[in-house]
């Protein structure tokens, strides 16, 4: 049971409003082992970031976890008080967000922000905390850390800021790091630096990582396993190699084929017709069926659960015994 750093079971996130309830994340289950990187991909609105926010207890009201459980090292954290959650965030779960400029306070020197995090969550205090902050900045590859620790965030470039954010996230040696689009705001050359930094630090410390991104290339280079999300659910989960080279779910297949590649000269890109349904208007049965070319009878009425197929799991009737249409009607 405690093999996994993070276990999410049947997570459901709802947003009640005056017209009813929007289900933004539905029945999401996954585990992340020690030292493992799980990549989560999907389009805008697929529920990637909401899943992460639910795990760290940062859902914006009225959003709430309606069902399911989140376990960190086997211990349930989804029902903790906000006060207890605050002690876990930053200490046991580190976070890196998309825009490094908004995750740092512009009015404080980066040293002050690091030292605050270190002295709240660890036993290092005062001068010791400062030494630890400098050591961390050196570790994330910030040149001349000893002088630059007293600079303000605006004095750093985008890539250097994101390094500072990584240092902040790792300050208390968390068991789990949640990185939500950590490289999306950065240029490709800097992106490569941050990816290799994240990979190295997490391997060295055995930190489990949940890496959310819409850039399939980043996942391919960084993650061990990946989950594909569509309309609030995981539609496919498996090893990165399997999902990228042999995707099973028609949505994953479409997604892989729609990416322009540097190493091929296709005339036209494969495109998935239409767009993802918004929460609130998700059709019955399989949410992808209206865009799916292989949709058949059971897809319209029965929602496919994740079924094991080789080493992967996929939620598609193509890969499981769909109940006969008579049963489906019931």
């Amino acid at each position: 049971m405690t093999d996994f750093v993070l276990s999410v079971r049947n997570l459901r996130v709802e947003f009640p409003n005056r017209h009813g309830t929007l289900v933004a994340v539905n029945d999401v289950s996954f585990d992340i082992a020690r030292g493992e990187v799980l990549g989560v991909v999907g389009e805008t609105g697929a529920g990637k970031s909401l899943t992460a926010n639910a795990i760290i207890g940062l859902l914006e009201p009225p959003g709430r976890i309606a069902n399911g459980e989140v376990r960190l090292d086997g211990e349930r954290i989804d029902q903790l008080s906000p006060e207890a959650m605050r002690r876990i965030r930053g200490k046991r779960i580190g976070m890196v967000f998309q825009d490094p400029l908004t995750s740092l306070n512009p009015l404080y020197r980066i040293g002050a922000q690091l030292i605050e995090t270190i002295s709240v969550h660890t036993n290092y205090q005062g001068a010791q905390a400062r030494r630890r902050a400098i050591a961390l900045l050196n570790e994330v590859g910030l040149p001349a850390a000893e002088e630059r620790i007293d600079n303000y965030p605006h004095q750093f470039s985008g890539g250097m800021r994101q390094r500072v954010v990584v240092a902040l996230a790792l300050a208390a040696d968390p068991e789990l790091l949640i990185a939500d689009e950590p490289t999306t705001a950065l240029d490709v050359s800097v992106q490569a630096q941050i990816i290799s930094l994240l990979k190295r630090l997490c391997r060295e410390r055995g930190t489990a990582v949940m890496l959310i991104t819409h850039d399939m290339g980043v996942i391919a280079e960084t993650a061990d396993r990946m989950a594909v999300m569509y309309a609030g659910r995981i539609v496919e989960i498996g090893s990165v190699r399997d999902v990228i080279t042999k995707p099973l779910h028609p949505y994953s297949v479409g997604l892989m084929n729609s990416i322009p590649r540097l190493d091929s000269d296709l005339e036209t890109l494969a495109q998935i017709p239409g767009s993802m349904p918004r929460p609130g208007s998700i059709p019955s049965g399989c949410a992808f069926r209206s865009r799916c070319q292989s949709a058949f009878a059971p897809c319209a009425t029965l929602r496919p659960e994740l079924m094991t197929r080789g080493a992967s799991k996929v939620a598609c009737w193509l890969y499981g015994d769909a109940p006969a249409s008579g049963e489906a009607a019931q």
Partner: protein, 332 residues
């Protein structure tokens, strides 16, 4: 004899004065500060061709796009489109009529469409401005036709832009650009605000429209895979300068300039081979204080003495051009 190119960008430069106000400068004894956003940019685009311009943020891609369409006045240099100079006073009257033939599609479809206007009004505005259709019925028919052209329904014209998804908004922006029947469309990061599956739809639409309407594109993007997919020729920019121009296949198979190689090497690949890439150190320098000599030399693995003092010129070799001392001297 080749056919004259549709667009000729000739030695275009743009310098922004970002100095402090005069009094403050005098009191504090500060020098004038000039930001060279683009320096000596020269390229041409043939009819029906897609010219891609790539580079990291701050490399001056968008400044060049804006100068080409005339949104920014160049400090020096000229843009000649179909034989008409964009800076020559003699062409003033012809130029105003000519503007119709150049259009632009912007990066963020959430910002480039007026939220208070219905889609019909957004697309009809260029038609009215250039007097391209007579009477309400004709305008209505033309807008309907344009909406169908980009894969939307003519009935969508009654809606406001916030009722559409990002990909659909970008289709509306494309329909607006096409409303004035342009020959030349400048696309500044047309898909970088979109998801990959939607990006594929928009890129396919752009190629399809190019074939059907004989459009010429200037495509600005930081996404190398997108540029490779769309462009026939590509220019690579670094710190306001073009460092390499080549045919698309050549550039992506045999990149010459060390910066191009580095960029191509830095793109995460999908092949899951586990091969380790060697990330290049450093970031694009501050354009207010560019390095002397070759602007890329502090990050370049092949830099030597000459690169630190002398600025390399763009030297044409065959169908491509590259500005690098190391290549000129045969060191790499």
């Amino acid at each position: 004899m080749t056919i004259a190119p549709l667009v000729l960008v000739d030695n275009l430069s743009c310098v922004f004065d970002v100095s402090k106000p005069w009094l403050e400068r005098k009191i504090q004894g500060l020098p004038r500060q000039l930001l060279v956003a683009a320096a000596n940019i020269t390229f041409s685009i043939g009819r029906n061709e897609t010219f891609g311009l790539v580079g990291e943020s701050g490399s001056g891609k968008s400044t060049v796009a804006r100068m080409v369409v005339g949104l920014i006045q160049p400090t020096s240099g000229d843009v000649v489109i179909d034989g008409i100079s964009m800076s020559d006073r003699a062409h003033l009257v012809r130029r105003q009529k000519f503007r119709r033939r150049i259009q632009m599609v912007f990066q963020d479809p959430y910002a480039s469409l007026d939220p208070r206007w219905r889609v019909f009004a957004i697309i009809a505005e260029p038609i009215r401005a250039f007097d391209l259709a007579d009477g309400k019925a004709a305008i209505q028919a033309r807008v309907g036709e344009l909406l169908r052209l980009v894969g939307l329904d003519p009935a969508d014209g009654r809606k406001y832009s916030h009722e559409f998804s990002g990909g659909q908004r970008q289709r509306i922006a494309i329909a607006r650009a096409l409303a004035s029947q342009p020959d030349f469309v400048v696309c500044d990061e047309p898909t970088s605000a979109l998801d990959v599956s939607v990006q594929a739809q928009v890129l396919n639409l752009m190629s399809d429209l190019q074939d059907r309407l004989g459009l010429t594109y200037l495509l600005i993007s930081h996404n190398l895979a997108v540029v490779r997919h769309m462009a026939t020729r590509v220019g690579v920019m670094y710190l306001g300068r073009i460092v390499e121009i080549a045919k698309s296949e050549e550039l992506f198979h045999k990149p010459l300039h060390p910066y191009t190689r580095m960029l191509l090497d830095a793109v995460p690949q999908l092949d899951v081979t586990g091969t380790r890439r060697n990330p290049i150190e450093g970031e694009i320098p501050n354009p207010l204080d560019p390095p002397k000599g070759c602007p890329f030399h502090p990050r370049c693995p092949h830099a030597y003495e000459r690169c630190r003092v002398e600025q390399p010129q763009l030297i044409v070799r065959g169908s491509s051009a590259v500005s690098c001392h190391a290549i000129e001297d045969g060191r790499i």
